[in-house]
């Protein structure tokens, strides 16, 4: 499959997943309606919609806060801005995304924004201190690919949906347990039990949907980077460098984990067996080893044992 076809099939998947979210939200509302009161179910859904819209409007600011990304003055970090600019040109983006800096020793990067015009790329100081120019550019191209594929939009939506479902299910669950008998309709015990089980499981189902969405996107963004720079090896090298690095990020807020180029929360991958293997369903990112292997297949090369010893890009920026 070419990248274009991948993006197309990806769009379809996105639509299905968003539909899945909506369905799940409907089920949660329905369960509350059935077990407690029909009007309550409707109120819950309307409340969910309002909460969702509010979250959508403030998402940009919220993501900046949760990741700790700081705005950078227009004259600072010129060489870095230039790299972002060049990659955006290659991606054909109408506007160059803004650059934000996260003061964190762990090398990582993310992209955010509902529309390409208002997107930004966040990089950690650790990334600039670790990556040489070629690999940094590959990471930036990965993030720009997220913007180009509208992943940032979709993942923001998914995060909000998952959040809304968790909140509504939680409220419904509490009302069922504590507020119980008074408002319960004649449905009986069976309905109540069903509703309780459903409301407990719903947030996990939402999480599962959200994670499955983001794992595939990482592969696609890697491929996008390879295409934009015509250099799959650079992306593979960058991933290897991330793999070898052992510092983990301070802003490991799980709710924005899927935004980063490498999962900020977990570092041990590929070694899980048996029941633990199930936990990989909740991973936001595929194992780095798999992503590197995919790049090697695309480019028809084999990563060398040792990484090139080029100067990290930070030296060009004059930050220690």
């Amino acid at each position: 499959m070419t990248l274009q076809e991948q993006i197309r099939s990806n769009r379809l998947r996105s639509a299905i997943v968003i539909f899945g979210f909506a369905l799940l939200l409907g089920v949660v509302g329905g369960l509350i309606g059935a077990a407690l009161d029909l009007r309550l179910g409707i109120v819950a859904l309307i409340g969910a919609a309002i909460y969702g819209i509010f979250a959508l409007i403030s998402s940009r600011r919220m993501i900046a806060r949760m990741t700790g990304a700081q705005e950078v003055g227009p004259d600072e970090l010129r060489p870095l801005r230039r790299l972002v600019e060049n990659v955006s040109i290659a991606a054909g983006l109408p506007v160059t995304p803004d650059v934000r800096l996260v003061d964190d020793p762990a090398p990582n990067a993310f992209a955010a924004g509902l529309r390409p015009q208002k997107s930004y790329v966040g990089v950690t100081t650790g990334l600039l201190r670790t990556m040489p120019k070629r690999e940094l550019e590959a990471v930036l191209a990965h993030e720009i690919s997220h913007i180009r594929h509208r992943d940032t939009y979709l993942m923001t939506m998914a995060t909000i949906f998952a959040g809304v479902i968790a909140v509504i299910a939680d409220i419904g669950f509490r009302m069922l347990i504590y507020g119980g008998g008074r408002s319960r309709r004649g449905g009986g015990v069976l309905v109540a039990v069903l509703a309780i089980v459903g409301l407990i499981l719903a947030p996990y189902a939402a999480l599962l949907l959200r994670m499955s969405l983001s794992r595939r996107r990482e592969f696609l963004a890697d491929a996008g980077s390879a295409e934009l720079l015509n250099d799959p090896e650079a992306m593979a090298l960058a991933l290897r460098r991330l793999q070898l690095d052992t510092t983990s990020i301070a802003y490991a807020d799980a709710s924005v984990a899927h935004l980063w180029v490498e999962s900020p929360t977990s570092r041990v991958d590929s070694e899980r067996r048996g029941v633990l293997a199930l936990s990989s369903w909740f991973d936001t990112h595929p194992p780095l080893e798999q992503r590197i292997a995919a790049m090697e297949e695309v480019g028809g090369f084999q990563l060398p044992e040792r990484l090139p010893l080029d100067e990290p890009f930070a030296s060009e920026l004059g930050i220690a």
Binding site: L3, Q6, A90, G92, S212, E227
Partner: protein, 186 residues
């Protein structure tokens, strides 16, 4: 009567397919045009930088006239190029000429130490990077558009409707289109 309805249904369906396909080609063509505009912006930026550069170098190395003439000619070639292929060719020629100019500059330590000179050199390098970035995007859009125009059934209608395959921005025959095929796991 039934046959008539079936006929109408088929015609409506064909009409819808035609509209969708036509709109797709229009979209692809617009992408090509945007891609080309991006390249033109960068080419213009490059040619705009050159008179200043030549002036500065002339100040230190006035007698190297042959190199200046060559750069000026190559610059004019880029400005006059009438097609993407010709522009790419001319641009490659300009790169060669500039390479010679910078080689000459190597022999003049004062020139190399000049703030203006190093700044211009830096800008030119950046512009070259941007041209190659814009080229990658443009060539990718051209390939998508040409695939659309040259495959069935549009290869039959494209020409009468005014869609013509476009030229790549490439010198010496390479298309410069990265071919990334990809099989995802998970």
């Amino acid at each position: 009567m039934l046959w008539l309805w079936i006929l109408i249904g088929v015609l409506v369906l064909l009409g819808i397919l035609f509209v969708l396909g036509y709109n797709r080609l229009v979209r692809l063509r617009n992408e090509v045009n945007t891609g080309w505009a991006n390249i033109e912006v960068q080419l213009e930026r490059r040619t705009d930088l050159i008179p200043n550069l030549v002036e500065i170098v002339r100040g230190y190395a006035a007698h190297e006239r042959g190199v200046f003439d060559e750069v000026t000619r190559a610059r004019a070639g880029v400005q006059q190029a009438g097609s993407p292929g010709a522009a790419a060719e001319a641009n490659a020629g300009l790169t060669v000429a500039l390479g010679r100019l910078f080689a000459v500059a190597e022999a003049y330590p004062d020139l190399k130490a000049s703030e203006n000179f190093s700044q211009l050199q830096d800008e030119l390098t950046d512009t070259e990077d941007k041209i190659s970035a814009a080229r990658r995007y443009y060539n990718a859009t051209v390939m998508n558009f040409n695939n659309g125009v040259q495959s069935l059934p549009w290869v039959l209608f494209a020409r009468p409707l005014g869609f013509r395959a476009r030229e790549f921005f490439s010198a010496e025959g390479d298309t410069g289109v990265p071919q990334v095929t990809f099989a995802t796991g998970s």
